[in-house]
C-alpha cells in the first residue's frame, strides 16, 4: 500500500464483507503527542476469539478464492516500522475495532494520502452502510456522516461522479483548515 488512506480503504472493505451497517473511521493527528492514530470500528459479524490471533498472519484468510490475507499484516508491519502498533478488538456478533498508531514524525510513517477520496468512495459504494468519518487535529475536529449526505441527495445516487467529486472537494477543504500533515 502506498499510503495510509489505502490501508483504511482496505480495512474498511473487511468491515463491509463482515456485513457491517455502521462503520466509523476516525483519524487523530496530534502534533503535541507526535502521534497519528487511525481507528476503524464496525458493527459487523466480529471475529471469533480463537481466530483473533491469526488475522495478522499473512497466510490466514477466511476467503476461499485465494490462500492469503495480507491486509492486516501489511498494516501492522507499516505501523511497527513507524514506532507504532496495531490492536484489534472484536466480539462475535457485536463488531470489530482496529486501532493503529504511528509516530507522526517518524521517517517511515507513510503519508496519509487521499483520505477524502477513500471516504467518498466507501460512502458512495455502500449507501446502506452508515459511515461516520471523524478527523481530529490540534486545531479542531471535522465530522461527516454518510446518511446525512444521503438525506440531502434525496434519491440521487452518491456514486454519480459529479457528486463524488463535490464531496471529495468538500472534505478536502475542511481538512485543510485542520492543518493536516500528509
Amino acid at each position: 500500500m502506498k499510503d495510509l488512506s489505502l490501508h483504511i480503504l482496505d480495512i474498511a472493505e473487511n468491515s463491509i464483507r463482515g456485513k457491517a451497517t455502521q462503520l466509523a473511521i476516525e483519524i487523530v493527528q496530534s502534533r503535541t503527542n507526535d502521534m497519528l492514530t487511525i481507528k476503524i470500528a464496525d458493527n459487523g459479524t466480529g471475529i471469533p476469539a480463537d481466530r483473533l490471533e491469526t488475522v495478522t498472519d499473512p497466510f490466514y484468510t477466511t476467503r476461499t478464492t485465494r490462500k492469503m490475507g495480507l491486509g492486516l499484516p501489511l498494516l501492522q508491519m507499516n505501523a511497527e516500522m513507524a514506532d507504532g502498533s496495531l490492536t484489534i478488538n472484536s466480539t462475535e456478533g457485536v463488531g470489530t475495532k482496529v486501532i493503529v498508531n504511528f509516530r507522526l514524525s517518524h521517517l517511515n510513517r507513510q503519508p496519509l494520502g487521499d483520505v477524502a477520496g477513500v471516504v467518498v468512495g466507501l460512502a458512495a459504494s455502500y449507501e446502506n452502510v452508515n459511515l461516520t468519518f471523524n478527523f481530529e487535529t490540534d486545531k479542531g475536529t471535522y465530522q461527516l456522516i454518510s446518511h446525512d449526505i444521503k438525506t440531502i441527495l434525496d434519491g440521487h445516487p452518491m456514486s454519480d461522479p459529479q457528486i463524488m467529486e463535490a464531496l471529495s472537494e468538500m472534505i478536502r477543504e475542511n481538512l485543510k483548515d485542520l492543518e493536516i500533515t500528509q
Binding site: 500500500m1 488512506s5 478464492t65 487521499d114 477520496g117 440531502i152 454519480d160 463524488m164
Partner: protein
C-alpha cells in the same frame, strides 16, 4: 463552480442537478445507466485500483457521460488487478482486467461510448457480482 465546503453547498448542488437534465430520469432506475464497479480488495488496491477509480470519476464527469462508479470487494481475479466490471444497460456485464489509466481511457472511448469490445476482457464462465 463555486467551492463546496458545507452540507448546504451540497444541497445547492443537488438542486442544480435536479434542474439540469442530468440524471433526473435515471435516478430512480440505476439499471438504466452505465455502471462501473472497481474491485477494491487488498490485491486491487495494491495494484492501483483507487487510481483507476479516480480516473473514471474524473473523466466520466469531464466527458459528460452519465454513469455510476462504485467499488466492490475482490472478484477473484487477483492476477489481473485492477479489475472492473462494466454494465451497459441491457447488456451482460463485462469484466476487464489490468485496467490502468490507458486501458480505462480505451474502455470509456470504445466500449462505453461505442459498444466496441477492447482487449483485456476476462472470459466468462463468470458470475457477475450482484451487489
Amino acid at each position: 463552480m463555486t467551492k463546496i465546503r458545507t452540507l448546504d453547498d451540497l444541497r445547492n448542488l443537488r438542486t442544480n442537478l435536479r434542474q439540469g437534465m442530468d440524471m433526473r430520469e435515471n435516478a430512480d432506475n440505476p439499471d438504466s445507466v452505465v455502471q462501473i464497479k472497481v474491485a477494491m480488495a487488498t490485491c486491487g488496491i495494491a495494484s492501483g485500483a483507487k487510481k483507476t477509480m479516480d480516473f473514471f470519476v474524473t473523466e466520466l464527469r469531464k466527458r459528460q457521460i452519465t454513469a455510476l462508479v462504485t467499488q466492490t470487494g475482490c472478484m477473484g481475479y487477483c492476477y489481473a488487478e485492477p479489475t472492473i466490471e462494466v454494465t451497459i444497460p441491457g447488456k451482460t456485464p463485462v469484466v476487464f482486467g489490468n485496467v490502468t489509466e490507458n486501458v480505462a481511457d480505451e474502455i470509456i472511448e470504445k466500449y462505453i461510448k461505442k459498444g466496441e469490445l477492447v482487449d483485456g476482457i476476462i472470459p466468462q464462465t463468470f458470475n457477475p457480482i450482484d451487489k
